[in-house]
């Protein structure tokens, strides 16, 4: 009996040895899951911009191809698995089903779902790259150690706009806020920015979608804006784009529009061409057959960040990758003229914010002159002293 056991043990060892030598020639594998839930096609003001489902997927795919081009020289192989969740089905159940597929998830889900997902037991040891959210709450009181945010928060966007308005001396704002919760959240971010940069919100009005056969944008907007007399610029919070476009050229006084329409703050824009961005735009268009959206940019950066971490650490272990990503060593190329890195205190990707009009890039924030003791990029959004998230401590 004892003899037999010994025999099996030796055979087992031999097998292990063989296995080992087989795998030694193979590439190190890094698998990433792209998890996205289908969205209800929203109402839209015009048919100019087609609705794109699963924004980010094409960006993630392109980044995996880039990672693998590098991987062929470093002996690493990156694999992207798609988990597409139909409308109405459970995101959490899908995540649980695929939890063993990878430690690295790039997700395009709603803010609520993201929070629930991050709190699952199965997610504790994962690293989740949030490719879409703008919520300041998820970067403050609801921040999680296992989540990194790729796109600028509402606060970062509002600060970018405010820096520009301060530079232009458009200090008196007329704020128009839409009816959705997200519109109110962006309005809050604008209030915070106004206070930070010493701007004056001289009037604030709610836009209500009311129905009346006699009303048109042409007649409504002048009336809506008529009773506000002393303002420099109309700042609009309409994240879904249901009415903000009405304001340009139709206000009672001739005033510019800025915010979610008019001049907008975004992580990526088709007018952006500097710092190698034109190559990125061309490559994406060739690949996806459409312009790169900011969610594609977010997912691209997430997968590229994973690639950088894996290449530099020569590891596929989540602990090594995470340590590298949150270290000072990360200098991620984001085609925006400055190296990108993560804010250790809340997992937000530090990045310039583009200020774009429909057909021209107007400015890139942080604007010259907005100083910061560590990096000017931290003049946008919640800086370390103000954060209500303390992951780094």
């Amino acid at each position: 009996m004892n003899q037999l056991f010994k025999y099996f043990f030796i055979v087992g060892l031999l097998l292990l040895e063989i296995q080992h030598s087989v795998f030694a020639d193979e590439k190190q594998k890094i698998s990433i899951v792209f998890l996205s839930q289908e969205k209800q096609v929203p109402a839209a003001l015009s048919n100019l911009d087609a609705f794109v489902q699963h924004k980010g997927l094409k960006g993630a795919e392109m980044a995996v191809a880039d990672n693998n081009t590098t991987g062929q020289f470093t002996g690493q192989n990156f694999e992207l698995k798609h988990v597409i969740i139909p409308l109405g089905e459970s995101v959490l159940a899908a995540f649980k089903r695929h939890a063993s597929d990878s430690d690295l998830f790039v997700v395009n889900v709603s803010d609520n779902q993201l929070l629930k997902l991050a709190d699952l037991d199965e997610a504790k040891t994962k690293l989740i790259f949030d490719g879409v959210s703008r919520a300041d709450e998820l970067r403050n009181e609801f921040c999680r150690h296992n989540v990194l945010h790729m796109l600028p928060s509402r606060a970062m966007r509002a600060d970018a706009l405010a820096q520009y308005m301060l530079k232009k001396r458009w200090q008196k704002w007329f704020l128009v806020v839409g009816p959705t919760k997200d519109d109110k959240r962006f309005a809050q971010a604008l209030h915070r920015a106004a206070e930070r940069f010493g701007m004056d919100i001289v009037a604030e009005k709610q836009w209500l979608h009311t129905y009346d056969a006699r009303r048109t944008a042409q007649s409504d907007v002048p009336v809506f804006t008529q009773d506000v007399s002393e303002y420099d610029v109309l700042v609009v919070a309409d994240e879904q784009g249901l009415f903000g476009e009405y304001f340009s050229y139709r206000t009672w006084l001739p005033r510019l529009v800025i915010g979610t329409q008019g001049l907008v703050a975004t992580a990526w824009h088709r007018t952006h061409e500097q710092w190698g961005a034109v190559q990125m735009q061309n490559r994406f268009k060739d690949y996806a057959g459409r312009w790169m959206e900011e969610e594609d940019y977010g997912a691209y950066l997430a997968v590229r960040a994973i690639g950088e971490a894996a290449t530099r650490t020569q590891s596929n272990k989540i602990s090594d990758l995470k340590a590298y990503l949150l270290s000072d060593q990360l200098a991620l190329q984001g085609y925006k003229g400055r190296p990108l890195s993560f804010r250790r205190w809340n997992g937000q990707l530090r990045q310039p914010v583009l200020l774009a009009a429909a057909r021209s890039l107007v400015a890139v924030a942080p604007l010259d002159g907005f100083l910061h003791p560590k990096t000017e990029l931290d003049s946008l959004g919640y800086d370390q002293p103000e954060t209500r998230c303390h992951l780094g401590e």
């Binding site: 470093t74 200098a331 190329q333 190296p339």
Partner: protein, 319 residues
């Protein structure tokens, strides 16, 4: 009297020795600017093709090669008449390229296709396409013609290509977004800049390992504006110079001690550098301020800036 004549003659000779013509590609003007370097004056500007960027002088000094990126070609320009005399099949969107020491081949980075195109200049034919990393940019050929290196901006590697077999035979991982690469005159070192990390790496050619990394930091400029691009090393290997992009400065580096000695303030967004043929002067292209700076290398002082046109990109000097 005789002394006076000799003096004037000597002066004339000295002037002649230093006289050179500088050619600058203007990315946004689709043009080539011609500058009299001695006088520090723009002589003329000629249309050259869409989005001209990289520029080199042929080894015999009679022709210019100009990458007109949006025409997807490299144009051959007569350096005297400035007339186009031919085109080279560069592949798509050529930007930077390098020439073999014998002047027989051009190696072109094709950023969108992740490859290096090898062109036989005399035949005007592509002889090879070599797959490299994502977004290859800087390319250089070693003085002994043993190595062609291509640096890829997104893969963050220097690929070592054997010019005979056209194979990548080794790779060196470098700091993010490598932009410039130059061999030292003795061929023993390769100097590479990283735009994103703001660093200069000196690679030992024999071992292909980084032997020195310099973080280029300026007290009065935030680190994320330190974005080095072009790098050149003088023939004596006494000094090297690095163009620092939006930091608007050229770093002067002691090529013996490998330490930064000083920074020279030039125009805005300085990218590319070229020596005068006698290496007494250095020229810089300043993309945002639309000028070139002329640096005197005996004193290490910027002596003049010359407005040339919109988005000066590449620069080369001819005796």
């Amino acid at each position: 009297m005789l002394k006076q004549v000799a003096g004037i003659l000597g002066l004339l000779l000295a002037v002649n020795a230093g006289a050179d013509t500088v050619y600058v590609t203007l990315e946004k003007d689709n043009a080539l600017a011609v500058v009299d370097a001695e006088a520090g004056a723009l002589i003329k500007t000629v249309t050259v093709g869409q989005r001209p960027r990289g520029i080199l002088l042929s080894k015999d000094g009679t022709q210019l090669y100009v990458a007109t990126s949006d025409d997807d070609t490299i144009k051959i320009i007569d350096a005297e008449t400035l007339a186009e005399i031919g085109q080279l099949p560069s592949g798509e969107d050529p930007e930077t390229f390098a020439q073999s020491p014998d002047g027989a081949f051009l190696y072109v980075s094709n950023e969108d296709d992740n490859q290096v195109t090898v062109i036989d200049i005399k035949q005007r034919k592509v002889v090879a396409r070599i797959p490299v990393g994502v977004e290859p940019e800087a390319v250089a050929v070693s003085p002994n013609n043993k190595w062609v290196v291509s640096a890829s901006e997104t893969t963050n590697m220097v690929h070592w290509i054997d010019p005979v077999s056209h194979q990548v035979v080794a790779n060196t991982l470098v700091d993010p977004r490598p932009r410039g690469a130059s061999f030292s005159a003795d061929g023993k070192q390769l100097w590479v800049t990283s735009e994103m990390a703001g660093s200069l790496m000196i690679i030992d050619v024999a071992s292909k390992k980084i032997i020195k990394k310099l973080a280029l930091s300026i007290p009065t400029v935030t680190d994320d504006k330190i974005q080095p691009v072009g790098v050149v090393i003088d023939a004596a290997q006494r000094w090297a110079y690095v163009a620092m992009g939006p930091a608007n400065r050229v770093a002067v580096i002691n090529a013996q001690t490998l330490e930064v000695e000083k920074f020279l303030l030039v125009g805005q967004r300085v990218w590319n550098l070229a020596f005068s043929p006698d290496q007494k002067r250095l020229y810089t292209t300043n993309g945002v301020s639309n000028d070139i700076s002329i640096i005197d290398l005996d004193t290490h002082k910027v002596i003049k800036s010359v407005a040339v046109g919109r988005y000066p990109w590449g620069i080369v000097s001819r005796p």
